[in-house]
């Protein structure tokens, strides 16, 4: 008998009832979020020591390059940016920047667009696609994330995508950190040491 059949033979049971599984999700216990004020709820979580992210606000997408330049200047970093090949960024004027699509092993700054922000935790929700690589978001020292205010949802339950799943669906909640030495928190363990969220308040992103 194959290992598969041997294991399954010991685990025979009637199939689970969908209703029973669904009932397990009724009215979950979760931190309260003021649904009428998602932006400030989200920003409050973003600023928690455990999340440790900074933020900026822009009125329109065309303001994005200037906001990134502002941030990189403040951080004493050059205007060099690993930028995803996302057509939604087309309206931006990147003439002040040196852009590249593939991240270097010691990449300094990377831009990404989050599909959602989650107010409950200050999480940013991403999926991989041909226009959204994953690795640059982990290699970079400064992770700069564009998030439309309209894309802030209340709870983690709002994060999953229905239907067929992308190769990777991932939630980023703060900077790379570790407490592996004496339980002491240190930022920038392996991934980004800095997370900077740029909220797009006016308008919405063009659809890809």
């Amino acid at each position: 008998m194959s290992a598969r059949n041997a294991i399954l033979a010991r685990l025979k049971s009637p199939p689970p009832l969908a209703a029973e599984a669904a009932a397990l999700l009724d009215t979950p216990e979760r931190p309260a979020v003021d649904a009428t004020n998602l932006e400030s709820e989200f920003l409050a979580r973003l600023a928690l020591p455990s999340v440790n992210a900074s933020h900026d606000v822009i009125a329109s997408l065309t303001d994005l390059p200037a906001a990134i330049a502002r941030y990189l200047h403040a951080e004493n970093e050059p205007l060099t940016l690993c930028c995803p090949p996302d057509p939604r960024l087309a309206p931006c004027d990147w003439s002040a920047f040196t852009l590249h699509a593939n991240a270097a092993p010691d990449e300094t700054a990377t831009l990404a667009i989050a599909r959602l922000g989650i107010a409950e935790t200050g999480s940013l929700i991403f999926e991989t696609s041909p226009t959204a690589p994953m690795l640059p978001n982990f290699l970079t020292l400064h992770h700069i994330v564009l998030l439309p205010v309209a894309a802030i949802a209340a709870h983690l339950e709002d994060a999953p995508l229905p239907g067929p799943q992308p190769r990777a669906h991932y939630w980023i909640t703060g900077v790379s950190g570790t407490t592996d030495i004496e339980g002491t928190y240190v930022r920038g363990a392996h991934g980004p040491r800095y997370l900077h969220v740029i909220l797009l308040r006016g308008g919405i992103l063009p659809v890809t």
Binding site: A21, F138, P160, P166, R167, H190, G191
Partner: protein, 469 residues
């Protein structure tokens, strides 16, 4: 030396107790974790109801584990992953080695997984001559020190910053100069970055397996999982079969409990759901994804009264709050998993005969059960092992005889009164000024503490005399 215990556990415990550095190290990490968890739980509404829900989700899965595993398998295959099944640790390692061999792997990047430790993956890779890069900071420390993890969340919790500093200075190419924990972490970052990116295969465990999508969920705070699993050509997942949840929404209440119970955070920094290999047009991600579903005693646990233990989500709260763990650390337990959850799991994984001490080295104070996010009745399960050990004749003869004699007398109240009267008189002879500093047959007590002298007459004797008045 007590005759109630097997020397190996006692020796390890004694060595741990004699190590003042270990005590400091454990206290620093577990103490911090305990305090942070308390703050997180206080801030979480209705934590008790959330525990009940988390336990119910896992119970539901464990009751229907077979169908859910088949659903997971079908979904993962549909997403392009290859699914393998292993009944034992050896089978699991063999499957992983075969995949590595087929991929021509010279080096693998490992993202910390307790299942990997449980099945002996580090050792198997070494045997196969495949280079291994441990990417979790603590596992990296353990690898450099050639040791074993002492905690499931903080594998290097037994090491102080001073010890880590010395280790990095000896082993890193460009070690830190400043004596801070931040500088040490940077030293590891420099050391590991290139090695991670150069690996042929990335190996991880799974915090959750999502039945309806075939996704594998990992959580880390360092981001080392993603850096280990995205660049290599092959991603191998080794996961215990109990890691299933019906859907991603079912993982969410579990994730809320896991982070809060482990580190006191609302969520881990990085939570990733991997569904199959790289898609057409994707700019990164592995070409192959393999998922090895490992039983290694879990079906047996389910059949033999340990189904509750399969709820465990490996948060480590039980050990952080265990008075025994806090004194002896993780290595003294001698298994892959330390602390209360380890004391339940190790006899199931490695056999009861050589691990019977683990069930006894517990005060049954119930704190572990109180903090468990999935309400595992750990003290009850430990008592279950004690009972099995007694039934199978593994308990020491002196213990069996002593308890047998006492129970024989105690079930005969008149004889018991006579016996206690005599015992009181005998014991009182050894006392001075109310206290006994040394009592034969009770050296375990009087070696470290004084024993109050019993009263001149038992309660029952005094009470009956009063009643007759």
């Amino acid at each position: 030396m007590s005759d109630f215990t097997t020397p190996s556990f006692l020796n390890r415990a004694d060595a741990a107790l004699a190590d003042p550095i270990l005590k400091i190290a454990v206290e620093r990490t577990a103490g911090t974790a305990e305090a942070k968890r308390a703050i997180a739980i206080d801030a979480f509404p209705d934590f008790e109801a959330a525990r009940t829900r988390a336990a119910a989700i896992k119970d539901h899965v464990i009751a229907h584990l077979g169908p859910y595993l088949e659903q997971f398998e079908a979904s993962a295959i549909a997403a392009g992953a290859q699914v393998h099944w292993a009944q034992t640790a050896d089978e699991a390692c063999q499957i992983v080695m075969n995949i590595c061999k087929a991929a021509g792997a010279k080096s693998v990047a490992r993202s910390k997984s307790m299942l990997g430790e449980e099945i002996g993956l580090p050792h198997a890779l070494e045997e196969a001559g495949i280079g291994r890069v441990e990417t979790d900071l603590a596992e990296h420390i353990i690898q450099l020190a050639d040791e074993r993890p002492s905690h499931i969340i903080w594998p290097a919790m037994h090491k102080t910053r001073e010890q880590v500093s010395a280790l990095f200075k000896a082993k890193h190419r460009t070690p830190h100069e400043e004596e801070t924990i931040a500088a040490m972490a940077q030293s590891a970052r420099r050391e590991l970055r290139a090695k991670m990116l150069g690996a042929d295969v990335g190996i991880s465990g799974a915090n959750f397996l999502i039945a309806d999508t075939g996704a594998v969920c990992t959580v880390t705070n360092e981001g080392n999982a993603e850096l280990s699993l995205v660049p290599p050509r092959v991603h191998i997942v080794t996961a215990g079969i109990e890691k299933i949840v019906p859907s991603m929404p079912h993982a969410i209440p579990m994730l809320r409990m896991l982070a809060r119970s482990a580190t006191g955070a609302a969520l881990t920094q990085y939570t990733t759901f991997y569904t199959g290999p790289r898609r057409s047009g994707d700019r990164d991600g592995p070409e192959e994804m393999h998922i090895v579903l490992v039983d290694n005693g879990r079906t047996k646990m389910r059949e033999e009264g340990l189904a509750d233990m399969l709820r465990c989500i490996r948060c480590g709260a039980c050990m952080n709050h265990c008075v025994v763990f806090r004194q002896i650390g993780g290595h003294a337990y001698g298994g892959t998993y330390p602390g209360p959850m380890g004391a339940v799991l190790t006899p199931a994984l490695d056999g009861l005969a050589s691990n019977r001490d683990l069930a006894h080295a517990c005060t049954l104070n119930g704190k572990c059960q109180e903090v468990c996010p999935v309400k595992i009745p750990l003290p009850t399960l430990l008592k279950g092992w004690r009972e099995k050990s007694w039934r199978e004749g593994l308990e020491p003869t002196s213990m069996r005889a002593g308890l047998g004699l006492w129970a024989w007398v105690a079930t005969r109240p008149a004889l018991y009164r006579l016996g206690t009267g005599l015992a009181i008189r005998a014991i009182r002879l050894l006392g001075r000024k109310g206290w006994i500093a040394s009592l034969p047959l009770a050296g375990g007590w009087t070696r470290y503490r004084d024993l109050p002298k019993p009263a001149a007459q038992s309660f029952m004797t005094q009470y009956q005399r009063e009643q007759r008045k």
